[in-house]
């Protein structure tokens, strides 16, 4: 059984990382988590980003956060990617599988996944 005492090990491990990481997130992934987003399936999308970013070793440069209703409920789950000096990218009708591709192609590879963006849907 897990015990709270195990957290001490995580604490020791994280100490160095935290120092490295402070203020270093250049990219921000924001998932809409209001009623509309949650009902449309935002929870697994958020979890896919949290897990994928860590597994790809991007934790130092990508912050995954949550927000309320973005205002385009019909396109939920909506994910916005902010990067310093670049225009915001809005991904719509997201799924956990699509999240995986955004992580590898966009967050890691620097190439926007155009077919998942709002521009591709809102025609």
């Amino acid at each position: 059984m897990k015990s709270l005492a195990e957290l001490q090990a995580i604490k020791d491990k994280m100490k160095d990382k935290v120092v490295l990481r402070e203020g270093s997130a250049q990219k921000r992934v924001v998932v809409g988590m209001a009623t509309c987003g949650i009902a449309a399936g935002a929870r697994p999308v958020l979890n896919a980003f949290v897990e994928g970013v860590s597994k790809e070793g991007l934790s130092g440069e990508v912050a995954v956060t949550q927000t309320g209703c973005i205002g385009i409920c019909q396109y939920e789950p909506v994910v916005e990617v902010f990067e310093a000096g670049k225009e915001k990218v809005t991904y719509v009708k997201m799924t956990a599988e699509k999240a995986q591709r955004v992580i590898t192609d966009h967050l890691k590879g620097g190439k926007v996944v155009t077919e998942y963006t709002i521009a591709a849907y809102a025609k």
Binding site: V18, T35, R43, N47, Q66
Partner: protein
């Protein structure tokens, strides 16, 4: 919503938005009933506002004129023959004892009962998104109990953020292990 755990996530987001230092999610199950309570010590609402929140055409959001979170949850409880209650004390009227309490009871054997679903994911999602708030989760079943309090975790972790993946993963496994052992 496809799972009641998604309603819990949605309602608890309101607590965080109400700047609640602590949000408690308490599930109590018997053979045929499930009671879900979400209790926060946030800014609360005046009695006028409380009356309005069960109306789908009332919302706090500014991007749309409808708010369906609470009406959905109420409907889902009542469609099983269950009940829904909301009580709130506004900070302006009760400076030392304010917050909101929602209690919904579901009949589990009713055909319109929506399954609870992945409540562990709801808890970890809340903590990941709001590492500075505190959450207490308790699930009481006839076989045993599952419990988590982020204040205890923060005591152990010192300054490490609860949003760190390693911490979230640990919390997920910690709760899952408790479910497996009951």
């Amino acid at each position: 919503m496809k799972e009641l755990s998604l309603n819990i996530l949605d309602i608890a987001e309101n607590s965080v938005k109400a700047k609640a230092p602590l949000t408690q999610i308490i599930l109590t199950e018997s053979e045929d009933l499930l009671t879900i309570e979400i209790i926060d010590n946030g800014c609360g609402m005046t009695s006028d506002i409380v009356k309005k929140v069960i109306d789908p055409f009332y919302t706090t959001r500014t991007t749309r004129k409808v708010g369906l979170g609470i009406p959905f949850f109420k409907m889902e409880a009542e469609q099983t023959g269950g009940t829904f209650e909301i009580e709130s004390k506004a900070e302006s009227e009760f400076p030392n004892d304010h917050g909101t309490k929602i209690k919904a009871t579901f009949h589990k054997d009713h055909i319109d009962f929506i399954p609870l679903g992945d409540v562990v994911s709801t808890v970890t999602t809340l903590i990941q998104g709001h590492p500075d708030s505190d959450f207490l989760f308790r699930h009481v079943t006839p076989k045993g109990e599952v419990f988590l309090d982020t204040r205890e975790i923060k005591n152990e972790l010192g300054g490490v953020s609860l949003a760190e993946y390693e911490v979230i993963k640990w919390i997920e496994e910690y709760i899952k292990e408790q479910y497996q052992s009951i």
